[in-house]
């Protein structure tokens, strides 16, 4: 059609106009394509990260719960409700053709004490004494003695800084105890009554020791076996999977490295990673900071070395540093003062000489770990659980967000949760009313609370005070509320005993499914989209009258899930602004070119073109412009996306890794991206053409005659 030819040729003729309009439209199309690809890919990969690591496609929570479930949200006061009839729910939902599996869950955070070296050494010493191994006990004893000496030094320094008056009596007594233990006579008399000495050290000195790591662990209490099967991002790294049906804890490798590993070693690892990325010691402030910490925190190493180890390390460091320095503190300081040139050598040396002689991880696979649970109402529970191994979420190894999730078996989780049913609460209230204050007996309480499941719950009922009455409120489920328990000052021996009893106990599926949970993850079949799944699940919930609220993964993941919405909004907004600017500029330049074409248009009108045909001509021109420049922009955008889609975009930080579902981000154009971009460009062009076209329609045929007379 001739109008298209006129349009195309006008584009070629009015070069400046075309350049301006074209540039804008190309940019707009490019931006839409690139932006949409980025966002939809982030959405897709992030959904993979979230869905396949912990959330599943749909999460179920109790209907009417005060807080909405937020998997990546804040820890602590999350009143997300409780689900009691999981077994029934699971059966009903797993029967749906759209659903692959339903996994019970509870997400919580607790404090774990990483154990202190003195404790460990004292235990070793006790064992050696018990076994009558003189030589061994001698070596350990010397180490412990040195540790006490170091501790005494440390505390004396501390005393210099702090105000004696303000120190608590406990603290003052503690200082005196340490000083006493640092006297030669204490050690000289050790052999006379080793157990009394050990007791003194264990009870009075160990608690004063430095290096007690307090870990804040976030974990998913779940049916571990089911979790492993359903979440395909889950894979074991070290150790072994918790045996099916048994209690146990799995560390996320990320958490394990970040929190459990020896601090100096961890800092060396980080320096190594950073240098591998091309950083230089001299210019990287963080590396400098790590080096500084390694140099000043030499005690992290020296404290852990016994005589024999100290001698070996000392010799190696002296050789490396070509120094005759005899003071370990100075040697470690000098050794840790690394630079670009010697780092690798010293890193290797550290792992060859020092690492084997220290506790590289404060909690090791096979250890039994004490978890101190606490809840919003302030009661605390302490549970011991065996650490079986470490795992990671594939592709998300370096992500802080995914890396924060550890895994705990559901039975132990329930023990920590200490949940009581409404019936139970009523019964307790009644009992209390009858007898004033009555302590809750552990054996019966557990049986009643959790059915035959039982638990290794340790309840410090000895300190039961009137506060307990307040804690047993209808709103929540406190089992106990003893400040001492929160502080971790609980009789461990009993707990450990329980752990031994329960370790290896295999719970039946009915037991696992039978108790209370906080939420449940639904994994849909691969070909079912989330929307459909949500509809079907909602329908089923309504039909069966389950007291459940379904949330899609986006809603369930809280802020993170909304992140895509936020970048969508940002992109939409910037595209909107660019369109607005384009609109004005394109409009302006089209008005200019319309004015230039006044006589041509007047002539067309004179020789018989109707107004509508002039409008048509302008619209065709707009469509042609949109088509040509939109296509060019889309091509550029697509080329860029294809380039990065093939080679990948390096995810530069933790959050990016999480978003991109792996270390590299591969954007891909969604199938609807192209039409969306083209239509958007077309709409902008048409709108910008409206005013010039209106002007053109008002040009009279007289304009054709204007230069005569």
């Amino acid at each position: 059609m001739i109008l298209i030819q006129i349009a195309l040729r006008n584009l070629l003729t009015h070069k400046i106009k075309s350049a301006i309009v074209g540039g804008l439209l190309i940019f707009a199309a490019f931006l839409i394509i690139a932006g949409l690809s980025l966002i939809s890919s982030i959405d897709k990969s992030m959904s993979k990260s979230i869905v396949n690591s912990v959330a599943g496609h749909i999460q179920l929570q109790e209907k009417g719960a005060k807080d909405e479930l937020s998997i990546f949200g804040q820890m602590g006061s999350n009143e997300i409700g409780y689900i009691h009839n999981f077994a029934e729910i699971r059966k009903a939902i797993e029967a749906m053709p759209e659903v692959g599996a339903v996994v019970p869950m509870g997400i919580d955070s607790s404090i774990v004490f990483g154990g202190n070296v003195l404790d460990v050494k004292l235990e070793a010493l006790r064992n050696a004494v018990k076994a009558g191994d003189k030589a061994q006990s001698e070596v350990i004893r010397r180490h412990v003695r040195r540790m006490v000496a170091l501790l005494d030094d440390e505390l004396k320094n501390l005393k210099g800084f702090s105000d004696q008056e303000k120190m608590s009596d406990d603290m003052k007594q503690g200082l005196l105890d340490v000083t006493e233990a640092n006297q030669p006579k204490f050690w000289d008399s050790f052999d006379q009554d080793p157990y009394a000495h050990l007791e003194f050290l264990e009870n009075k000195i160990a608690k004063m020791a430095i290096g007690e790591d307090m870990l804040m662990l976030r974990y998913v209490g779940t049916d571990t076996e089911r979790f492993r099967k359903v979440f395909d991002r889950f894979e074991m790294v070290d150790g072994q999977m918790i045996p099916p049906g048994q209690r146990g804890f799995l560390f996320n490798k990320f958490t394990y490295e970040e929190q459990v590993k020896h601090k100096t070693a961890r800092r060396l690892d980080k320096i190594k990673d950073r240098l591998a990325e091309g950083a230089k010691v001299a210019t990287d402030d963080e590396i400098k900071q790590w080096i500084k910490l390694n140099r000043t925190q030499y005690k992290e190493i020296t404290f852990q070395l016994d005589d024999v180890a100290t001698d070996a390390v000392k010799a190696a460091l002296q050789a490396e540093l070509a120094s005759k320095e005899g003071d370990m503190a100075k040697l470690v300081d000098a050794f840790m003062d690394v630079n670009d040139g010697n780092f690798q050598k010293r890193y290797d040396l550290f792992y060859k000489i020092i690492a084997p002689r220290i506790r590289l991880y404060s909690i090791r696979m096979g250890d039994t770990m004490t978890i101190n649970g606490f809840s919003q109402s302030g009661y605390a529970t302490t549970v011991n659980v065996k650490v079986y191994g470490t795992f990671r979420f594939h592709g998300l190894d370096r992500s802080t967000m995914a890396g924060a999730f550890n895994i705990l078996d559901l039975m132990t989780y329930r023990d920590l949760l200490g949940y009581m049913t409404a019936d139970k609460k009523a019964e307790i209230a009644k009992l209390q009313a009858q007898s004033g204050l009555k302590e809750l007996k552990r054996d019966t309480a557990e049986a009643e609370l959790f059915g035959e499941g039982g638990g290794e719950q340790v309840e410090d009922t000895t300190n039961a005070t009137p506060t307990q009455a307040a804690a047993v409120t209808p709103t929540d489920a406190p089992v106990e509320a003893t400040p001492a328990a929160i502080a971790g000052d609980v009789p461990l021996s009993g707990a450990k005993l329980m752990a031994k009893e329960l370790e290896g106990h295999v719970y039946s599926q009915a037991e696992i499914d039978g108790g209370v949970i906080r939420s449940a993850a639904i994994m849909l079949k691969p070909d079912v989209d989330v929307k459909t799944g949500m509809e079907k699940v909602s329908a089923l919930i309504a039909a069966r009258k389950f007291a459940l609220k379904p949330l899609d993964w986006r809603a369930a993941s809280g802020l993170v899930g909304n992140f895509v919405g936020v970048i969508y909004a940002v992109l939409a907004f910037s595209i909107f602004i660019i369109f607005l600017v384009s609109l004005v500029i394109i409009n302006n330049s089209l008005v200019m070119s319309t004015l230039e074409r006044t006589r041509e248009i007047g002539t067309m009108r004179a020789i018989g073109a109707q107004r509508s045909e002039i409008l048509q001509m302008f619209m065709v021109e707009a469509v042609v412009m949109a088509g040509v420049f939109g296509a060019i922009g889309c091509t550029f955008g697509y080329a860029l996306v294809a380039y990065f889609g093939h080679f990948g975009l390096l995810a530069s930080n933790d959050f990016m890794i999480f978003l991109s579902g792996g270390p590299r981000f591969y954007p891909a154009l969604p199938p609807w991206g192209l039409p969306v971009a083209m239509i958007a460009v077309l709409i902008v062009t048409l709108i910008s053409t409206l005013y010039p076209a209106w002007l053109a329609m008002r040009i009279t045929p007289l304009a054709a005659m204007q230069d005569s007379e």
Partner: protein
């Protein structure tokens, strides 16, 4: 569309007591006063007069690009005062041909496309018919070899030939030409006038405006305008004819 020669036949253009006023702010300027005029088929008429005498205004009224303030303007049997904008446009398309002083070709189209343009607007002929008609005319005006040149590649005379072909392509009842030779040198201007005369002899009715005495001398009939009034009685001269 061959013209009958009898003067008694219905005139193509009929103006009676036409006034045209322009409002310039508060002042009303009278461009045409009591103009009455008839143009019969086959005429070769010149509207002559100095600048500002109302030549172009008169041509615009006849060309249906403007309407009279008072009086009656009948073109091809239609009272233009009673027509809508769209009707006027259709009248221009189907009954009139225009030749402009500055040729007014569409710069981005080549000669062929410029000539074809009115046919496309008419939507009466198919592509083959259009091609035949356009090439006929390009041959007739002597620039068939430049059919695929754009106006920018043509001389003034060639462009005006394209414009003439465009004006004629729809078989108009009358061709209106506003100072068609004003932008041409005298030799080229003469050639264009020769062509128009030839075409007139072949049956096309021409009405054009000029202030060039040389052009006036070649007219079959001269309508003189001074200050918006016709000063020479429009006598029926019989120079118009066809071979």
């Amino acid at each position: 569309m061959h013209m009958a020669t009898t003067p008694a036949i219905q005139p193509i253009v009929h103006l009676s007591n036409v006034d045209k006023d322009y409002k310039l702010g508060a002042v009303t300027v009278s461009a045409l006063k009591q103009v009455s005029l008839e143009i019969a088929p086959g005429e070769f008429t010149v509207i002559a007069g100095p600048s500002g005498s109302g030549k172009t205004t008169l041509l615009n009224l006849i060309g249906c690009v403007d309407v009279a303030t008072r009086g009656e303007v009948i073109v091809a049997g239609q009272d233009t005062g009673k027509l809508t904008e769209g009707d006027l446009t259709r009248l221009r398309l189907n009954a009139l041909g225009f030749i402009f002083q500055s040729f007014n070709l569409v710069g981005v189209l080549d000669a062929f496309q410029n000539v074809e343009f009115p046919l496309l607007l008419q939507k009466k002929m198919n592509a083959a018919q259009r091609k035949e008609r356009v090439m006929d005319l390009l041959n007739r005006v002597g620039i068939a070899e430049y059919a695929h040149h754009r106006p920018g590649e043509l001389s003034g005379g060639q462009r005006q030939r394209v414009a003439i072909a465009r004006a004629l392509v729809t078989f108009p009842r009358i061709v209106l030409a506003d100072e068609p030779t004003a932008n041409l040198d005298s030799v080229t201007g003469n050639q264009i006038l020769d062509l128009m005369q030839e075409l007139n002899r072949e049956g096309t009715t021409f009405l054009f405006s000029t202030h060039d005495p040389h052009v006036v001398s070649r007219a079959g009939r001269v309508v003189r305008l001074v200050d918006g009034r016709i000063v020479t009685e429009p006598e029926q001269q019989s120079q118009t004819s066809h071979s």
